[in-house]
C-alpha cells in the first residue's frame, strides 16, 4: 500500500535520458512545464503530449508507472474539472438545467486544465524516474550556486534534501514494519469511524517518531565524527559533465517548444 507512492522514485536504467546530465534534465523539465502554461491550441497540446510520450518510450518506463504516478491526482482532476465547468460561463451554453449551466468554454477549460496537470505530473515523474535522487540534489546544488552571493545556504539545503531523500525509503519500510507488528498484536487499522481510525494511528506514529528522532541523532553524530562542518572547501566525488547528448536534448526541446508556441499563432480554431 505504502509502496504505491512512486513520485520521487528512481527507476534504474541506461537509456539516453538516464545518461543525460541531471542539470540539463532539470532545466529542460522546467522549460517544458512553463511551456505547458503557454499552450492554448489543441495542436500545441498534441505536440506536447506526443513529445512526452516519446521521452517515456526512450526511457523505457512502462505505461503502468505513469498511471501509478497519476492515480493520486485523480480526485484533484475531477474536482477542478467540475469547478471549471460550473464557474466558467462565457461562450455558448452546452447544457442548462435550473441555475446550473455548462458552457463550451467551461468544458474547454476543464479539458485544458486536466491535460496540463497530467503532463506536469508525468513530466516531473519522468525526471525522478530517470535521475537518481543523489544526482538530482547534486544538480540542484550546482544550479542554485549563484544564490550563494546573497548568502543563501545552498549547500545546507542540498544536504538536507539528500538526507531527506535518503531516508524516505527507510521511513516507508519502517512504517510498514511497525504497522505489521501492531497488526500482529491485533491492531485494527481498517475499520471504524474517523475518530477510531485516527486513534488507531497512535500505536504507529509514536514508534515512528521515536525512531526518526533516534536516526537523526545517530546520523548527526556520525557526520560529526567524520568531521563534517558544512560545505566550505568540500570537493565532490561525482563531477557533473555535459556532453554531446545534452546538447542534442536541449536542441530538441527548444525546437519542440518553438513548434508548440508557433501552433498558438496558427490560424486554426483549435
Amino acid at each position: 500500500m505504502l509502496r504505491d507512492i512512486t513520485i520521487g522514485q528512481y527507476f534504474p536504467g541506461h537509456s539516453f535520458l538516464h545518461r543525460l546530465d541531471p542539470r540539463v534534465k532539470i532545466v529542460l523539465t522546467m522549460i517544458y512545464i512553463v511551456l505547458l502554461f503557454f499552450v492554448h491550441k489543441y495542436v500545441g497540446f498534441a505536440i506536447s503530449v506526443v513529445f512526452l510520450g516519446v521521452c517515456y518510450v526512450i526511457a523505457k518506463i512502462p505505461l503502468k508507472m505513469i498511471l501509478r504516478s497519476l492515480k493520486p491526482i485523480v480526485p484533484i482532476l475531477i474536482f477542478t474539472g467540475i469547478l471549471n465547468m460550473l464557474f466558467v460561463n462565457t461562450g455558448e451554453p452546452f447544457f442548462k438545467w435550473g441555475i446550473i449551466s455548462i458552457s463550451w468554454d467551461g468544458i474547454n477549460m476543464a479539458v485544458v486544465m486536466a491535460i496540463r496537470v497530467v503532463c506536469l505530473i508525468a513530466a516531473s515523474s519522468l525526471l525522478t524516474y530517470t535521475t537518481s535522487p543523489i544526482s538530482l540534489t547534486d544538480a540542484i546544488e550546482r544550479l542554485l550556486k549563484p544564490l550563494k552571493v546573497i548568502k543563501f545556504p545552498v549547500h545546507e539545503l542540498a544536504m538536507m534534501m539528500s538526507i531527506a531523500l535518503r531516508f524516505i525509503p527507510t521511513l516507508v519500510e519502517e512504517t510498514d514494519k511497525i504497522m505489521s507488528a501492531q497488526k500482529a498484536r491485533g491492531a485494527d487499522l481498517e475499520s471504524g469511524g474517523l475518530l477510531q481510525r485516527a486513534k488507531a494511528l497512535v500505536p504507529i506514529l509514536i514508534p515512528l517518531f521515536i525512531s526518526a528522532f533516534r536516526r537523526a541523532e545517530e546520523l548527526a553524530l556520525a557526520m560529526e565524527c567524520r568531521c563534517y562542518h558544512g560545505g566550505e572547501g568540500r570537493t565532490r566525488m561525482r563531477q557533473l559533465h555535459m556532453g554531446a547528448g545534452d546538447a542534442i536534448a536541449a536542441c530538441i526541446t527548444v525546437v519542440v517548444s518553438g513548434a508548440v508556441i508557433a501552433a498558438n499563432f496558427l490560424p486554426l480554431p483549435w
Binding site: 500482529a184 498484536r185 497512535v202 521515536i210
Partner: protein, 288 residues
C-alpha cells in the same frame, strides 16, 4: 494447532525492476506442540515465510492452512488468526508506544476485547513468563534497557496466549547472557503451556539446544525440515550450502575421525560433557 503450507510463493515489488522471489513454492507441515528452529542465511526468506503464517503477507501463490482452515478464505476471521498465531518481529522493541510497560503489554489482549480483570491476569502472567519484575510494569518502556524492552515486546505477544508463537530472532543484538536468559524463558514458557513455537535464529548452538525440529531455508526454498539429529547429521550437505553445524558437533566429528571412540551425533555442549565423562569413566575402570 497444525500449520500447513501448500505451494507458497511470495514475490516482493511485483512489476518493477526490483521484483524478488523471497519464498519459492514451499510446502510444509508443522504439527502442534513442538519448538521448531528456523535457520538459513540472511535473505533466505525466513522472515517472509513466517509473516505468511498469520496473514500479514498475502501469498503471491499457494495457500496457508491453520488447523485445516485456509486463512485467506474468510477475511473477517483474519484477526482471530492473528490472535491464534502470535508473531514477535525482529527487533520488536521498536514497536513499543504506550506510557507504561503494563499498558503496552495489555495492547494485544485489549484488542481481543477481553474483560479488564482478564487483561490484568494475562499481563501479570506474561510479564512473569518473560522475566519482567513487577516494579517495571509502571515504568515507561522507553526508560528500559534494550534487553528489557525486548522482553516487554515478547510479553506483549505472549499475553495474547497464542496457540502458535513465532519469534523472529528474539536474541539478535543481545549479549550472550541476555540471549540465554531469553531463550531459557521461552523454553520454560513452552514447557508450561505446551504450545507450538517457531524460533528463527542464526545460531546453530541455540537451535540445537532449544529446538525439537529444525527448518532449514536456503535461497527461498525449504532445504530440510526434520528433527535436530537428522538435520545436523547431514553436516556435509549443510556445509555445501555454507551453513554450519554446532561447533561442538564439528569437534566431535574431528575427534571421531582422529580415531577417538566418541559418537558423531553430539549437538550440545551439555550432552558432549556427559558423553565424555562417561567415556573417561569407562577408561578409568579399564585401567584400574
Amino acid at each position: 494447532m497444525m500449520i500447513k503450507i501448500e505451494n507458497l510463493t511470495h514475490k516482493y515489488s511485483v512489476g518493477t525492476p526490483f521484483e524478488k522471489v523471497a519464498v519459492d513454492h514451499v510446502n510444509l507441515e508443522i504439527e502442534g506442540g513442538e519448538i521448531v528452529g528456523v535457520i538459513g542465511h540472511t535473505g533466505s526468506g525466513k522472515s517472509t515465510l513466517i509473516q505468511h503464517l498469520n496473514g500479514l503477507l498475502k501469498p503471491s501463490e499457494g495457500k496457508v492452512y491453520i488447523n485445516g482452515q485456509d486463512i485467506w478464505a474468510d477475511k473477517s476471521k483474519m484477526r482471530q488468526v492473528r490472535f491464534d498465531v502470535g508473531l514477535v518481529f525482529q527487533y520488536p522493541e521498536y514497536q513499543l508506544f504506550e506510557e507504561t510497560v503494563y499498558k503496552d503489554i495489555a495492547f494485544g489482549p485489549r484488542n481481543m476485547g477481553l474483560s479488564e480483570s482478564e487483561i490484568h491476569d494475562r499481563v501479570l502472567k506474561a510479564a512473569e513468563f518473560s522475566g519482567l519484575r513487577e516494579e517495571l510494569l509502571e515504568k515507561s518502556p522507553f526508560e528500559l534497557s534494550g534487553g528489557q524492552k525486548r522482553r516487554v515486546a515478547i510479553a506483549g505477544v505472549i499475553a495474547m496466549e497464542p496457540k502458535v508463537l513465532i519469534l523472529d530472532e528474539p536474541t539478535a543484538g543481545l549479549d550472550p547472557k541476555g540471549r540465554n536468559k531469553i531463550l531459557n524463558q521461552i523454553k520454560n514458557y513452552h514447557d508450561q503451556v505446551g504450545n507450538t513455537i517457531l524460533l528463527v535464529s542464526h545460531s546453530m548452538e541455540d537451535v540445537a539446544m532449544f529446538a525439537d525440529k529444525v527448518l532449514v531455508m536456503n535461497k527461498a526454498k525449504v532445504f530440510a525440515y526434520d528433527t535436530v539429529e537428522n538435520v545436523f547429521a547431514r553436516s556435509e550437505e549443510l556445509k555445501a550450502i555454507r551453513l554450519s553445524v554446532p561447533q561442538i558437533t564439528n569437534v566431535f566429528h574431528r575427534l571421531n575421525e582422529e580415531g577417538y571412540p566418541v559418537p558423531r551425533n553430539v549437538y550440545t555442549v551439555a550432552y558432549a560433557k556427559r558423553k565424555l565423562l562417561a567415556e573417561l569413566e569407562k577408561e578409568g575402570k579399564l585401567h584400574a
